[in-house]
Symmetry: C2
């Protein structure tokens, strides 16, 4: 059997690493809807976007036709410091589950940011530097994106201002400290450093902040300063473009051994990892070359695909950012205090939303305690302590593998292991002590949140 | 230039991974001195050691002649989950330093234990399992060893009891929590679970514990239980044998590209990493095949090689363990509250001590704040957040590279990057805030500690 020749970990050589990103939109018949200007409700123009984002990133954001974008040599050199990431054959997990399924995972956690976020952070920082900017601003909730951007900026000598949601700032001092090691300035949001921050603090003196508020502060900090732009770690088309490196590497590695996955699984918050992982496989499906099942896994506490509505909505709670057409729970939706901070976004990337609307992708939602049970099981069997976000995909992959055991089908499953859980041990502790709860929104919660949105379509 | 062909990271294929460990003692003309029974002061016999350690590990401990030990298939399979570890060419660091030196590092941090300790943990757990034991006990200070052993035992389904120094237990709740994820029971030491623990608590009610006390508790917990043995993560010959995988992989990777290091550098606490990294290179030197410079880097706060005495001493503070002949500061020596917990052992492995006594290896000691400065510099340039322990080697490597810049010599430097600093951010924070101190023992401190030792030689 050729299977015996497949190593535990497939590493590409540096020559085999992708030299281009793949723009999935180029193969989509139904393109994702454009971003709208929150004032005029007209599609955002390049000129409008360039006030907030770097020039080349705006081009990538708006370009739905060019299938491949060359990865600049400087970014490829940076990628070589922590990529190619391993494609792992989960032999131990297969044996433990006694499943006929073959399970592979693309592991993106072997870098100091601890997740796939670095793939887009270095690209966005690079274009900012190339444009001659002084620095960038951003927000971070769980902290993965802020850490990744700090690393990229530290490497390029670019100033980096991170607005960190206050409750995370206080609960995750280590995340904050890593960013400082890389030279970033980290501000608890809301803060007195912006007008919007001051306003919120005056209105809600004791608030511990929210992602929506941190976005508003970061945007203000960028547009009110000479030589700064705002950057974002998920949702946007440009981010999915950069993250296609995940899927391209995975596909090249599998192709080397003649392996074709039947099912591709990823966790889904804003969509950066899932969109990147599935990109080249979905491209084949869109071009009619091969069929795959794609499964987006989201938390039951924040189920934008499975229980949201497909419509235009703001990307931020403050309703100052452009509107995107997406599956959304409403920009005012506040998910329960879940421990998968990276999946607590109210909407889903426009690209993934369109694919889901077109029936090209499935979605499931899973309960937090089940996720942590899968996480711990995986840690003991495969050795890696997974991030709570990544563990959503682990749970779905295990469920599919168990189904194969029942049916006797020898399916090939590929999932994205986006990151490590070293900074999530408070959550693991809550799971162990039995304190972890599963709080799921009611239909009324979601309806109430959606009812507050302006009608655009 | 052939140099251009050397990738950023050299990964061996699974076929190229070592199938045997290398026993450096076999090539040493002056063998390391044997362990002595603390009661009789006679060399420990296999029978005596087997009361505390697993049978096969005792054989490895006592065998100074067999050059190679086959790595059992089960251990090789486990190694494949996180090995081969990358050998990294530090192109970015070289460029930043503007040095003609070529710098390589063997990175052992890409596994959940975060360090090289897993290499010996899985071996020791495997032999315990093979002997039909129920479980193992150990102590942990900084927590790397305890985490590694928990992972290995979790994988093999072996019970694992970790005695964690109480101040670490309280200061590092995340380390403790990782061990629990892997199913280990973690007890703050001193505890009421052992006689020696009770005695210490009665005598010093408010004590926050010490490594020496935790060792005593772990040993008692093993010998007082049916089906348990004690395991240790450094110092012992068997540990250096297992850790030779580091050096063997590094040498194979360099040999593939025809690269020969001029200088090999490692941090040195008990000696597990340094002994493993240098093993095959030192073997060549001992056999007269090639010359190398070897540099052990230790903290100025715990300078066993550079300021200690070469003599018999106890391995534990409680003076119940066997005596080893080693460079030591005295088993009663208490280093200042340094943040490189893994390097705070009072003595050095007998193998490395003998090599140092024979002039085959150099040693330097470095100050804590200089270490953290190098750590942060390295993090920004090479992307990896290093452990404080590992950063001792980084600092020495940077110093050697700077020397090359002055002299114009194109030397090849290899150092061991033993682990990551994700659980050491309290230390980084202290460094940033300027609170970090350099406390170095006086000559009187060391003399006083050594004066308390029994005369054996």
């Amino acid at each position: 059997m050729s299977e015996n020749k497949i190593p535990y970990k497939i590493y590409l050589s540096e020559d085999e690493m992708p030299k281009t990103w793949y723009n999935l939109r180029a193969d989509m018949k139904n393109k994702p809807a454009p971003l709208l200007n929150p004032g005029t409700l007209q599609p955002m123009t390049a000129a409008e976007l360039e006030g907030v984002f770097c020039r080349e990133l705006v081009q990538q954001e708006l370009d739905g036709d060019t299938p491949f974008f060359e990865i600049p040599q400087e970014i490829r050199d940076f990628y070589k410091m922590y990529r190619p990431s391993p494609l792992v054959r989960a032999y131990c997990l297969e044996e433990k589950l006694q499943t006929p399924a073959h399970i592979y995972y693309k592991f993106e956690g072997n870098n100091t940011s601890g997740s796939h976020k670095l793939n887009s952070a270095i690209a966005q920082a690079y274009y900012a530097k190339k444009q001659g900017l002084k620095g960038v601003t951003t927000e971070t909730g769980a902290g993965q994106w802020g850490t990744a951007l700090s690393m990229a900026c530290g490497y390029l000598g670019l100033d980096c201002k991170v607005y960190m949601v206050k409750c995370s700032y206080e609960q995750k001092p280590f995340r904050r400290e890593v960013m400082k090691v890389y030279g970033a300035s980290v501000t608890a949001s809301p803060s007195e450093t912006t007008e919007v921050g001051k306003k919120i603090l005056a209105e809600f003196p004791g608030t511990t902040g929210s992602l929506g508020c941190a976005i508003s502060e970061a945007v203000e900090a960028a547009v009110s300063r000479e030589g700064y732009r705002y950057v974002l770690g998920s949702v946007l088309n440009q981010v999915l473009l950069h993250q296609s490196i995940i899927g391209l590497e995975a596909k090249t590695a599998l192709d080397k051994y003649g392996v074709k996955p039947d099912i591709v699984i990823g966790c889904a918050g804003g969509g950066s990892n899932l969109g990147g992982l599935i990109a080249p496989f979905m491209g084949e499906k869109l071009r009619g070359e091969r069929d795959y099942r794609f499964i987006a896994v989201e938390p039951a506490s924040c189920p934008s695909l499975t229980r949201g509505e497909y419509r235009y909505d703001f990307c931020d709670t403050g309703m100052v950012c452009p509107l995107a057409k997406m599956y959304t729970l409403g920009s005012g939706f506040i998910p329960s205090a879940d421990h998968a901070g990276g999946l607590r976004f109210h909407g889903m990337s426009s690209i993934l939303s369109q694919l889901y609307a077109d029936g090209l992708m499935e979605a499931v939602s899973v309960r937090q305690t089940d996720v942590f049970e899968a996480a711990e099981y995986f840690a003991r069997v495969e050795g890696i302590l997974p991030a709570p976000e990544s563990s959503h995909a682990i749970l779905a992959a295990i469920n599919e593998a168990k189904r194969c055991k029942e049916t006797g089908e020898e399916k090939t499953i590929l999932f994205g292991l986006t990151g490590t859980g070293y900074f999530d041990l408070v959550a693991y502790e809550k799971f162990h002590s039995g304190e972890m709860k599963n709080v799921v929104p009611t239909d009324e919660d979601i309806a109430r949140s959606l009812a507050q949105l302006p009608k655009v379509d």
